[in-house]
Amino acid sequence: MALDAVFRDQWGRVLATLVGILGDIELAEEAAAEAFAIAAERWPREGEPSNPTGWLVTAARNRAIDHLRRQQVLTEKTKLLARDIEAGPQPPEALMDDAAAIPDERLELIFTCCHPALALDAQVALTLRALGGLSTDEIALAFLVPFETMSKRLTRAKHKIRHAGIPFAVPPDHQLPDRLAAVLAVVYLIFNQGWGGGRVDLAAEAIHLGRALAGLMPDEPEALALLALMLLHDARKAARVRDGRVVPLDDQDRTLWVKGQIEEGRALLRRAMARGRTGPYLVQAAIADLHLQQPRDWPQIAALYGTLARQTRSAIVEMNRAVAVAEIDGPEAGLAVLDRLDLGHYRYFHSTRAELLRRAGRGGDAHDAYRKALDLARTEPEQRFLADRVAETAPATRTEPL
């Protein structure tokens, strides 16, 4: 594995362990960064240690001991360190043998980062920084905000964790469903941000995080289902844009779909379903799977969207159900569902409605709806696709005599 990849892989593990030892996310981050810098200098020369996690944790802990010694800010929280400080720093190699016993505390860390007492944008940024190992620069780029803004957002969040006493712990059972939902929402939000195709591959980051979560909570159907959902969506990425235009699912080149990823997604979905407990991600993953099959089972898709709409009370889900209804009972039936929704601000509402209007033979209305969708479109492939549709549905110039 290239050093970069090893680092990205190790960052969350090492940082989580350090937060557990040091009791402070900021201190842990500084120490981890220094340890990774030392590794970047030494590993290429001396070879990668047999246990990179152990090496990095030890090196980082030594750096933290140095810092604390200098700053003389030993608190009760660092009791564990106090023992080490008396013994003095150890060479990283000393801990390598028992490094297998280093507990994986990434779950504690992700629940800290996604604590509901933090603003959602802070939860997202912190999760990418702490678990994903992205730099502040990369996160700022991904969310199109200035570096300064992102840096302040992260610092404020870390200070709140420290000052307000946000725990570094997996929540107790009675809180777990709500808190896990918050964690999964953050990961899925990162994934959806990445779907647009920015400079940082956020979809890949989200899948990476989802994989870690599914590994850490192998009995949690919603964690498995979220990973399945993301894999199934992401498998179609290469087919989704052609000639700079988005391609509707039915027109996509299926040979471009990543088969292995679809298989992995389906296997996860089956594992999640076997747990016998349903949730919004499980239903969405099941729908995503049905969409990949040919011919599509529209009645089942419509039924699942109905289930999901009841679970989430989301108008957007109801909009998706309208598409399935249109496939079963015709475009007018789908339009009847759409007309009950208050989604005028939502760009895909207009493109969905336009498509059904076009199929219903109402060209003029379709044209107007495509124009509205084009006004709201945010990415270039979407804009090009919609511009084509606007042109196709434009009323023909009158040539017949008046």
């Binding site: 604590h115 007492a117 000052h163 307000a164 006493g165 946000i166 725990p167 712990a169 929540p171 809180q175």
Partner: protein, 114 residues
């Protein structure tokens, strides 16, 4: 850790000073993890002093002019924010609809028996 819970109440018709503390709330305030509390008169009773570059300005009324007013202050001891939020939620259930509780960690302080 120590936390201050700032309770903000919606406006009310009757004189709050004349009303006893509801039973459920009184029981919670008696708990050992509640280290202190103060129930405040309505905001019409407030006077605000402001340091205006060395000069003291005195105004009638609360500093923050909003519909809800600061009705009380409760100091608690909790393991972490989750513990503080759980206590705040128990207290909130004993309040009138529209009440909000702001949870703030305490740096340091002292409270004599009131």
């Amino acid at each position: 850790m120590q936390y201050a819970l700032l309770a903000y109440s919606p406006p009310e018709e009757t004189d709050r000073a004349a009303r006893p503390i509801p039973g459920g709330l009184a029981a919670l305030l008696d708990r050992p993890d509640v280290t202190g509390w103060a129930r405040l008169h309505a905001d019409e009773s407030a006077t605000t002093l402001r340091n205006d570059e060395g000069t003291t300005l005195l105004t009638d009324g609360p500093f923050i002019d909003s519909k809800e007013y600061l009705a009380g202050l409760i100091l608690i001891e909790a393991d972490n924010l989750d513990g503080a939020l759980a206590t705040a939620e128990e207290l909130l259930r004993e309040t009138r609809p529209g009440t909000a509780i702001e949870v703030r960690p305490i740096i340091n302080g002292r409270l004599r028996g009131a």
